[in-house]
Symmetry: C2
Subunit: 128 residues, 2 copies
């Protein structure tokens, strides 16, 4: 029987883009990437694990910040080239800048304006 | 002055992934791609224009189906490698299968299960 992981058409780098959305607020929190192992671990553990393209390794969301993402739903799109995670965002903060969502800049009159507040100082999150 | 379009770090193919969300319902509708021209046209026209990777051309959402996406907000994420569009989805249908969202399959007990209804028969949408 074909396994569900085999139905994901991993790209040339073995990755798929993953949209993560807060289950309660509906806010789109992040766009990140997974490889096969990351998706397997995410489903097994019930917490989001991504592939960091910049660091070239698996990255359990919240491993440093404590802001883990508890998975409520995993969805696949019609042409199977993207995944949607619906999660409970621990701490209500997904972004390393201390904001709820990474999408905190909005285009206004030809400029990217920061429109969302910092909920917690990143130096307090990361202890640096 | 640096233009807002220049602040988007287009990838090696000149593209950026775009998450599109229904402004009213909060549903994540699609993940698609834009190049510089698509983003420029989207903002100028106030309706989503994507780059079709499979067809290798610009594609105004709804050009065949009538299911255009009226742009309410354009957002950029913290590391500027993804865009979020918040839109009014004309007809309430984003997917070519006649469903509200392209993310209509949900992982349940190791299987991708179709969990959302077809709202309109695609043969009626596309007249084929």
């Amino acid at each position: 029987m074909k396994q569900w992981l085999d139905e994901v058409p991993w790209d040339a780098q073995g990755l798929i883009p993953v949209v993560t959305q807060d289950f309660a607020s509906g806010r789109v929190l992040t766009l990140a990437w997974m490889n096969r192992e990351a998706l397997k671990k995410t489903v097994e553990a019930g917490e989001a694990v991504y592939w960091s393209r910049s660091r070239g390794k698996l990255w359990r969301k919240g491993e440093e910040s404590g802001h883990a993402q508890k998975v409520r739903e995993v969805r696949l799109d019609c042409d199977a080239d993207a995944i949607l995670l619906r999660v409970e965002q621990v701490g209500g903060i997904a972004c390393h800048t201390g904001r709820e969502s990474c999408f905190f800049r909005k285009l206004e009159n030809g400029r990217w304006m920061t429109v969302d507040p910092v909920l917690k100082d990143p130096s307090l999150i990361y202890g640096k």
